[in-house]
Symmetry: C2
Subunit: 356 residues, 2 copies
């Protein structure tokens, strides 16, 4: 009987904190300020760190710590609770892999902007594809967006966008933070984007050029009905992934015909961590030597950056230098900083240009 | 120039903590004890709470807090850091949705047990399927395991297992914690399980019986090549999800012909949170009335529990009461407590019995 009562108590206790909807996470107020709360009764100092700004929290008696921020920019912001100097994610809200850890985040809506929200349109899915990497000697997971209709049109083949995350993020970022599935579903339903696959993989591992070109792409071409040529293959990325789109994507016009560089500001060398300042002379001599051939090999060459991102100046200059060298470059500046809202908008604009 | 140097500094700072492999998470020692570390320089008291046992951490000078536990049971254990009373997940290790939050966890290997590890066999994938719930008026995501060969055999149709998580977990649990993909891939490759779909959805929402029967199953039957009849449909779950397998699965033999109840100990009423102690008389009068018809309608009726789980006694008695009432019940007791290792083993055993 004791066992039985214990069993009931255990089950009820598990059930009691079982509703994620019940997690009392941050509340977005009408002026886009956010009220954060934290349960840390024995702590001396608690703060929330969001968008690089630290807001000390206060408490009354034994109630939770609390603070309301200034109005925040629309978009997706990572944040942390700082409890007596310990930087932690918030147990009361969902976590996203970013800034090198499983971080808390809040998504502030932007008035009139709904291209990345779920809508009643035919839905694709995202497939978690496990594959072996001979170079890393480990199993990897590619997240692959597959448009609606893929399963019901087995005769149809699809172009592919390889889409890379930023530094400290991983293969989940473009789906969870970026909302790639909803963005593509909505555009394809409106006829504004060609149905395509989007492959999102982890880019900060080993010799990523080798992994992408010799392992990931052959895996995708084998396991999905792709059109396996450069004309039907694009590469894009944000920040660190934008650097890779330059250093890998632009360097391999025989593999990719379209390139997107979002908020990168400079260009990553082949391999993780190797960065160099942008230089048309040293990095793209083929463009200087023959701009016509370069343009003929590239259907879309897209660059973008938030105007509040320190990288804007450098990105703008890079686009100008590329244009001066004869390249056809599409450049867009978005409102916002080094955050997901400009990246969602960049993806939304970029994919509409692809595979036309 | 200042802008440019800032830009380099920003990029390098992002790159610097960009390698998850670099996260200095817990270390499993040779005796299966675990050494945990925490960076909390200003905290007064730090502890790790694992498997319900709290280990106070200590530090020398300004080095990180540290503790080494007793040897731990093999399997997957949630844990938390407790910093001055603030219960947080560990920024240095991956998080899993469990215990009602994004929790830290450590997976202790079991000697000689490799059925849930990645192997060089044909790999299926897991598909994140977005669908609208009319009853909840929200978009939901079903995680659907699809076996290898599904895309290359478009003429083939598949049986389906509906597999539910426990209290405080969600639709990601069976894939991430449970390793369903590897378990099924390995069994199917060995010919020990029939190729099947496994649908993992969020079960602690609204009237789950209604959602499952009227929304999820029709969605899956529409979007996948299923064999849409009871003979080719099973339901199973762990703990809270085991209760649902009883209250929904067993109550609908016209929908499910096989049922698995892992570590439940008692049986959930229809709807979230409604629990009742097990009673053949009040809950399964149809079994008492006509055991032959009950057995004829059920191909597999499976129950299991860890011997270290307080629910073992009640589960064993329930299985005996069911047998006494004339039901064919397969009962297995596993080593271990109310944790994922017995649930992985239960899934591994249960799916081998299905759809024969």
């Amino acid at each position: 009987m004791r066992q039985f009562i214990l069993s009931i108590a255990l089950l009820l206790s598990v059930a009691a904190f079982a509703q994620p909807g019940m997690r009392r996470g941050p509340v977005i107020n009408g002026d886009l300020s956010v009220t954060f709360r934290a349960q840390a009764p024995q702590a001396r100092e608690v703060a929330v760190d969001i968008c690089g700004k630290v807001y000390p929290m206060t408490r009354e008696g034994d109630r939770p710590w609390q603070v309301t921020t200034d109005p925040l920019e629309p978009g997706f912001h990572y944040y942390f609770l700082v409890v007596d100097g310990f930087r932690a994610s918030d147990p009361a809200s969902p976590h996203f892999y970013g800034t090198g850890t499983d971080a808390s985040a809040i998504d502030i809506p932007e008035a009139g902007v709904d291209f990345y929200l779920d809508k009643d349109v035919p839905r694709g899915d995202v497939r978690l594809v496990r594959y072996w990497s001979p170079s890393l000697k480990t199993w990897r997971t590619a997240w692959v967006y597959v448009p609606a209709g893929y399963d019901t049109h087995p005769e149809r083949r699809y172009p592919v966008l390889y889409l890379q995350h930023g530094g400290g993020e991983d293969e989940t970022g473009w789906t969870k933070q970026g909302r790639t599935g909803a963005i593509l579903d909505n555009l394809i339903a409106e006829g504004k984007a060609v149905p395509m696959l989007v492959v999102m993989d982890y880019g900060q591992a080993g010799d990523f050029a080798k992994i992408l070109l010799e392992e990931t792409i052959p895996t995708i071409d084998k396991r999905f009905r792709t059109v396996a040529n450069a004309k039907h293959r694009a590469m894009a990325g944000l920040s660190f992934g934008g650097g890779q789109s330059w250093s890998i994507g632009l360097k391999h016009p025989e593999v990719f015909s379209s390139i997107g560089i979002f908020s990168s500001g400079m260009f990553g060398g082949v391999g993780a961590g190797a960065y160099a300042p942008f230089s048309v002379e040293s990095q793209l001599p083929e463009l200087l030597a023959d701009p016509k051939a370069f343009n003929a090999a590239h259907d879309v060459f897209y660059m973008s950056c938030g105007t509040g991102d320190p990288r804007i100046e450098h990105t703008r200059k890079a686009a100008e230098a590329l244009k001066a060298a004869g390249a056809k470059v599409h450049f867009t500046a978005w409102p916002g900083g080094h955050e997901w809202q400009p990246w969602r908008k960049s993806l939304h604009e970029f994919v509409q240009l692809l595979f036309r």
